[in-house]
């Protein structure tokens, strides 16, 4: 659908006005929406059947309050709408307006219309407006604004027919905008802009002038010429924008006065107390607010760590059984080894995450859908500010429990560059779901299962919760340090709409869970499976013919060994002499102070690109280098059986276990996150800083833990 002659319609509107809901209704496309500002971070496209046999492309853009961007996510809109040469430049715009907040929504509408794009006004949430006592005469509004107006209910999908008619009519007649500027400026200035940068509507020329720094269509030189022009004509864009906004509101107020009947005024009654007001009395209360937030977090952790273990055990056991069964029925060969120990062990390592990711996204999307997430930002802002963060940093930090990649992308709505940068840099310290299996396996090895704290809490659960808290507090501490180091480019601010509470749309929740699980299984899964196979090859083959000789050597050196013991001995000797074994040995001196041997060294190397590979690597290593007993085939049991050759005691004691746990809690082992940081900061400097400080932190902390505990 990227053909140049396809008609393209852009959906534009305030955050929460219902754009994404309308987009889903029109295109039937399953796209994630949420009830907090900034859910649509990127543009999305879908196909809408406007008339039988006529499909148009619909473009959903991030929500904005005005054409003048205040944060990165808002920049996209002006870059498309003010640049007719942009590949996504629309033939028509539908401005989706929340009728219960008409004046503010019409501000954006009037700016879009003045850009010279044929525009339809879609009035959404008329029922909400009527409940508040406002009756809108949309026919009159259409006449006053000189555009087609369609009444819709985006959530229920009502009014699409009328919207189609309005769109068809507007596309056919291409209603022109009014050519006049909202506020006059010197004609010479507009002429100069048009002379240097090409013919354009006056308002678009003015936008280029005022927003040239944010527009990607201009080169560095062109930006300088814009600066010169502004100087030459003594043009102050901030003053103009403020004055323009006031002027537009004056015009809008006159229109609204004529088109909207306010029943409240006639009865002179106090505005009705809404459900949102009542709920907010509790949810942002200085005591109950925090208590509820903490309880929600607690239930969320319970779900992820307790409820999810049942399906996880099933997957774990199932994969182990499948492997044993395949080994039994398939002839023993290198190919069987690759399939069972390489591929299936790797796939199993991916699938086992699925229940936890599903639970996490169930909670996160429910919080977003209902509008509660904005309340969390509200009650957390003061605390976060102390650490150089922002109330809006809470969402990335919470999402970071699932995955740092979408979490870092969600920082785009943070207006201040410094707040945003700090949030990006510290978010990967939040323990993401990829760390969870590592935690689970290691905690099971070193923390006794039966002991309970005060007879209520499971000690393993407490340890797990402790690791999450540790990650969170380390993120806060690092943010505080960064706050002292980094210099602010501009002032931080927190001006945000609190949306009304809404019941969650369960279809959207389901889609959100499905999308994140699918993205994880296919995106992360690809890497994990690829590394598992490469690792299997490196662990099965060695330099020269050393591997072939080992079997003979073991037989000669250990004549008393027979049967299973003999095959075990051969397998572990082979692993030690494989390429992977050599790599592990190579870095052993560096990791010895942390308590790690060359086997863990292999796991560290392979998990540098993606930490979730750790468990897969461990299962590959231990299934290659040890006994595969039918009943003890899970990775946990294999690691528990591992003996430290130096001491003769179990390898995974408390010192090593906690040292590894701490290392994985702090280390930056995720290529995808580093790539995202690069993309979001547009500089290699910040991913390097992120990698450097987190790895140092991990090494030093793991060193201290091992030395103290051993």
């Amino acid at each position: 659908m990227t053909l140049a002659n396809v008609t393209r319609i852009a959906l534009i509107g305030n955050p929460n006005a219902g754009k994404s809901s309308l987009f889903n209704t029109l295109t039937g496309l399953n796209q994630k929406t949420g009830n907090f500002p900034g859910v649509t971070m990127d543009k999305l496209t879908g196909v809408w059947e406007l008339e039988p046999g006529r499909n148009v492309e619909v473009l959903d853009l991030p929500g904005i309050y005005s054409i003048y961007p205040k944060s990165i996510d808002e920049e996209l809109v002006i870059n498309i709408l003010a640049n007719p040469k942009h590949p996504d430049y629309p033939d028509m715009a539908i401005v989706v307006a929340d009728a219960s907040n008409l004046k503010r929504n019409l501000l954006l509408f009037s700016q879009v219309r003045d850009l010279g794009i044929p525009t339809v006004l879609a009035l959404n949430m008329i029922d909400v407006a009527e409940n508040q006592g406002y009756v809108i005469n949309s026919l009159k509004l259409a006449r006053e604004l000189n555009v087609e107006v369609a009444e819709i209910n985006a959530k229920k999908g009502i009014g699409v027919g009328g919207l189609k008619l309005a769109a068809i009519k507007t596309l056919k007649h291409r209603y022109a905008s009014n050519d006049a500027l909202p506020l006059p400026v010197s004609e010479q200035l507009i002429e100069d802009v048009q002379k240097q940068f090409g013919e354009a509507d006056p308002y678009r020329s003015l936008l280029w002038l005022m927003e040239h720094d944010r527009m990607k269509m201009f080169s560095e030189e062109q930006r300088e010429s814009f600066d010169h022009l502004m100087e030459k004509h003594h043009f102050e864009s901030k003053k103009y924008k403020s004055a323009e906004t006031v002027r537009r509101y004056e015009q809008i107020s006159e229109v609204v006065e004529r088109c909207v009947i306010n029943l409240n005024r006639q009865w002179d009654a106090e505005p009705v107390k809404t459900w949102t007001d009542r709920l907010d009395k509790v949810f942002i209360h200085s005591f109950w607010g925090y208590l509820i937030f903490l309880s929600i977090l607690f239930v969320m952790f319970q779900a992820v760590f307790t409820w999810a273990t049942y399906p996880m055990d099933l997957i774990d056991g199932g994969v182990a059984q499948l492997n044993d069964w395949l080994k039994e029925i398939l002839p023993e060969s290198a190919l069987t080894g690759l399939l069972t120990d390489g591929l299936i062990a790797g796939v199993g390592g991916v699938l086992i995450f699925v229940p936890q990711i599903a639970f996490l996204f169930l909670f996160i999307s429910l919080l977003e859908e209902t509008g509660y997430m904005s309340r969390v930002m509200f009650i957390m802002d003061k605390m976060m500010r102390r650490f150089g963060l922002n109330g809006k940093s809470v969402v990335p930090l919470i999402s970071g429990i699932a995955c740092a990649v979408p979490a870092i992308m969600s920082t785009r709505s943070i207006g201040s560059w410094k707040d945003r940068l700090i949030t990006i840099l510290v978010t990967p310290l939040m323990s993401c779901s990829a760390r969870l299996p590592i935690y689970t396996v290691l905690i099971a090895l070193v923390v006794p299962e039966k002991n309970t704290l005060f007879g209520v809490f499971n000690l393993q659960g407490v340890a797990l919760f402790g690791l999450y808290l540790l990650g969170f507090f380390m993120a806060l501490f690092s943010a505080w340090v960064l706050k002292k180091i980094l210099r602010a480019k501009e002032r931080s601010y927190f001006i945000m709409e609190l949306p009304t509470y809404k019941g969650p749309r369960f279809k959207h929740v389901a889609i959100s869970i499905y999308n994140s699980v699918r993205a994880f299984v296919f995106e992360a899964g690809k890497i994990i499976v690829a590394i598992s196979i490469v690792l299997w090859v490196f662990a099965s083959y060695g330099p020269g013919d050393s591997m072939a000789k080992i079997e003979e050597q073991v037989r000669v050196n250990n004549p008393s060994l027979t049967g299973v013991d003999l095959t075990n001995k051969i397998a572990s000797e082979k692993l030690e002499n494989s390429y992977a074994g050599h790599f592990g040995k190579l870095i052993e001196p560096a990791i010895k102070p942390l308590g790690y041997d060359w086997k863990i060294g292999i796991a560290l190397i392979t998990s540098f690109a993606a930490r979730e590979v750790f468990v897969g690597t461990m299962s590959t290593i231990y299934s290659l280098g040890g006994e595969v007993d039918d009943e003890n085939a899970t990775i946990k049991n294999r690691m528990r059986a591992e003996i430290n050759p130096d001491t003769g005691k179990p390898m995974y004691d408390a010192a090593l276990g906690f040292s590894l746990l701490i290392f994985y809690a702090f280390a930056m082992q995720c290529m995808s996150t580093l790539a995202t940081t690069y993309r979001e900061t547009k500089s290699w400097k910040y991913p390097l800083i992120q990698f450097g400080y987190m790895t140092t932190l991990a090494y030093v902390a793991a060193f201290l833990v091992y030395q103290i505990l051993s």
Binding site: S242, Y249, I284, G289, D381, K382
Partner: protein, 74 residues
Amino acid sequence: MLTLADLRIGEHGEITGFTDEILSLKLLEMGCLPGTEVILTHHAPFGDPIALKVSGYTLTMRREEAATIQIKRK
């Protein structure tokens, strides 16, 4: 000069002007216009940020930002 930061919960005010030029554009776009009536509805814990009803919806801002909005009592 009375500002929005001086209001207590439940009190009404009418916006008369702004003292910070950079913030004023954002505030204007969010519907805080001179002549508009505002009601302070909530404090976040520890008194900051604050939530207010303006133009029919709830807007939140920090106390220092509210202090740039001049008001008169209604």
